[in-house]
């Protein structure tokens, strides 16, 4: 027993971040790093898959959209743009998809310990973040190889990642907190994320649209301005920025949606966290 007198401290019950920041951070790091190590454990190529998987997807899509559909026509550096977009979008998709069942999957920890609930979905996103950083390194090698000139704006990829990270964490929080009560969310999310893949300028750019309506809809997607920023900063400085097609005030819509999702995430998670152990 420690010798200094210990003061009585209130037990507040389970919460999103119970037990202090320091402990939550340590737990987050441990969960994310062990999960990252484990994902490719037992596979022959190990970590190479982290990079290999998006490259293979990239290869397939590149073949389809340059040979079969000619989407690439008129888009400078289409191949590497596609690669960059896929890497960034996969981060969002993988982060949210692994976070969704994370609380249910960690039932033993949630039911038996005073585990800060928020750490669980955030750790899933953090694992995806490790992946995307590795992938981006590979992507930049390709970008250089395809003849894009390096510029100082490449450093702004950090801003892109940060914006994407916040949104991914927010979606992860909503999905993981509600999944214990609504198991349908698994199916709904798998369809939604596929729809989002096509509803985000990953395979195409916004100037491809002939219909203004379709363009307006895609412009409302909060992922759209993030990818447009990435394109402008990294691949093609002459590309239009996010405000071009959206046009001034209309840019407020994806921003509002972005902030709305973040607010909703905080509200949902704070509401669900104290009782999650009972719902499992």
């Amino acid at each position: 027993m420690t010798t200094e007198p210990l003061e009585l401290e209130e037990i507040t019950g389970p919460s999103a971040l119970g037990g202090g920041w320091r402990r939550s951070w340590d737990l987050l790091y441990l969960m994310a790093s062990t999960e990252f190590k484990r994902t490719y454990f037992g596979t022959a190529l190990g970590y190479l898959w982290t990079v290999g998987r998006p490259l293979m997807l990239f290869g397939v899509l590149l073949a389809v959209f340059t040979q079969a559909f000619k989407l690439s026509a008129g888009i400078p550096h289409y191949a590497v743009l596609l690669l960059l977009n896929i890497v960034l979008f996969s981060f969002f998709q993988d982060g949210a998809s692994t976070a969704l069942p994370s609380i249910v999957a960690n039932v033993a920890i949630v039911r038996k310990t005073q585990f800060p609930r928020l750490v669980i979905p955030v750790a899933a996103v953090l694992t995806a973040l490790f992946n995307v950083v590795l992938n981006l390194i590979v992507a930049f090698v390709f970008i250089l190889a395809f003849g894009v000139q390096p510029r100082w704006t490449w450093l702004l990829v950090v801003v892109v990642l940060a914006l994407l990270l916040v949104l991914t964490v927010a979606v992860a929080m909503i999905l993981s907190a509600l999944y214990p009560r609504f198991r349908d969310l698994g199916i709904i999310w798998s369809v939604t994320s596929t729809a989002l893949f096509y509803g985000t300028p990953v395979l195409y750019t916004l100037d491809r649209f002939h219909s203004a309506l379709a363009r307006n809809i895609v412009s409302m997607n909060p992922l759209t301005p993030i990818l447009e920023l990435a394109r402008r900063w990294i691949i093609d400085p002459r590309a239009h920025g996010p405000s071009y097609y959206a046009g001034g005030l209309k840019l407020l819509i994806p921003i509002a949606i972005y902030l709305g999702i973040c607010g909703l995430a905080v509200w949902v998670f704070r509401r669900e966290a104290p009782r999650i152990a009972e719902a499992l």
Partner: protein, 425 residues
């Protein structure tokens, strides 16, 4: 069981109720309420929400805890007793910040290590080494400190050779061993332990008891258990929870006794005793301790008395009163057969409505365990009649720490000595 006899002297004498009134409070629980809303019809999917949007979910409220208040002092070994479903595990989960209480508050001094639902939180996909670090951090250690303790945890659990095996490949016994080791080695100020003795093999149970003995008095330990021998041996105080409320809080012996009473009072009668007592009616049956007080349970080695009042419902010729003591498996251990003691010349007969008191002391050689007392009321076979029927009279526990094989311990003069060479028998 030399362990039991060895510790009996020192610990049973200190066990029970010496109060730690001067110590500071380690756990303070005030007015804790907890209810669970249990849906009568579980709505787990959106489809049900969508197809029956107007259907209000019906809930049944299960009051798990009501107005729970108590203190545990520093260094105290505190027992929580109660039948299954009494709310004691819910209470532990509230104290461990796993459930949120509806009302009231809990305050704890220092770091707290829980051992709940037979384990700490493990991820079956990870190796035990990774799990141990994760749990160390969970229990409040820093990452470095947790990593430093991995080896001692694995040694304690005797699982060193399996350190890098994923936990899903562990047997449940290994898992519990590891969980207990993590909890012990977390070096917390307060330990919350739920039902550790009910699992694992004998060696593990022994290890748990060794730990309890070592830590008793130096740590604050809250133990939930069904094993009254442990409660009586280790707990300074104990609390009995029944029907979501505290029924008793105080001396461990008394709490254990009340627990037994609760357990056996509500037990549905055996098939045998459900037979209507057509020939006689048992008006009363009881056990007394040495001091002449009626008791539910008997302490080991203590002489006790049996008492029974029977009323004949119709005339019985030459009745025989036969009592059997049997163990929990229904195996008979010993019995007594008694006849009416009558003055010379009085006919050996009971008339309808007449009452008989059967009572007297019995030497107690029973080992700790639960026992049944039943009776056969017979008409004397020499008169050509058969036994009438069997009555289940009592169930009771013999409690004590002097365990042993079998059910009874007989007195003996058997000794073991070394024989001198050449002086064989």
């Amino acid at each position: 069981m030399d362990y039991a006899t060895e510790v009996k002297g020192q610990e049973h004498s200190t066990g029970g109720g010496e109060p730690l009134t001067d110590a500071r409070i380690a756990i303070e629980v005030r007015g804790v309420d907890k209810a669970f809303q249990i849906p009568r019809h579980r709505v787990d999917s959106l489809r049900e929400r969508v197809t029956h949007p107007l259907m209000r979910q019906e809930f049944r409220t299960l009051q798990a805890l009501r107005g729970i208040s108590f203190d545990v002092r520093r260094g105290e070994f505190f027992g929580i007793l109660g039948r299954n479903g009494s709310g004691k595990s819910t209470l532990l989960k509230i104290m461990a910040s796993i459930y949120k209480s509806d009302a009231g508050r809990v305050r704890v001094a220092g770091r707290l290590a829980p051992f709940i639902e037979l384990g700490v939180g493990f991820n079956p996909q990870l190796s035990s080494r990774e799990n141990v670090v994760l749990n160390g951090v969970l229990m409040g250690l820093s990452r470095r400190e947790a990593a430093r303790r991995v080896d001692s945890v694995l040694d304690f659990a005797e699982l060193r050779e399996f350190a890098d095996l994923a936990l899903k490949n562990y047997s449940s016994g290994m898992m519990v061993r590891l969980a207990f080791a993590v909890m012990v080695e977390a070096d917390a100020d307060v330990m919350l332990i739920d039902e550790v003795l009910a699992v694992g093999d004998a060696a593990f149970a022994q290890k748990c008891l060794d730990v309890f003995r070592k830590l008793r008095g130096t740590r604050t330990i809250v133990l939930v258990t069904h094993d009254m021998a442990t409660v009586q041996r280790f707990c300074h105080r104990a609390m009995l929870i029944h029907d979501s409320e505290i029924k008793y809080i105080g001396e461990a012996d008394e709490a254990a006794m009340r627990y037994y009473r609760l357990n056996f009072r509500d037990r549905p009668p055996d098939r045998d005793s459900a037979v209507p007592d057509v020939n006689v009616r048992v008006l009363d049956a009881w056990l007394e301790n040495g001091a002449g007080e009626r008791v539910q349970n008997i302490e080991q080695h203590e002489t006790f008395s049996l008492g029974c009042v029977i009323e004949a419902r119709h005339d019985l010729e030459r009745p025989v009163f036969s009592f059997q003591f049997s163990d929990a498996d229904g195996e008979e251990i010993f019995g007594l057969t008694k006849y009416l003691e009558l003055p010379e010349g009085v006919p050996d007969r009971l008339r309808a409505g007449q009452r008989v008191l059967i009572s007297g002391e019995i030497e107690n050689r029973l080992l700790p365990g639960s026992y049944y007392l039943s009776a056969w009321i017979m008409r004397n076979r020499t008169a050509g009649d058969l036994a009438l029927h069997r009555l289940q009279l009592l169930e009771f526990i013999v409690f004590g720490t002097d365990l042993g094989p079998g059910r009874v311990q007989l007195q003996d003069e058997v000794r073991a000595v070394i024989m001198d060479d050449g002086e064989g028998p």
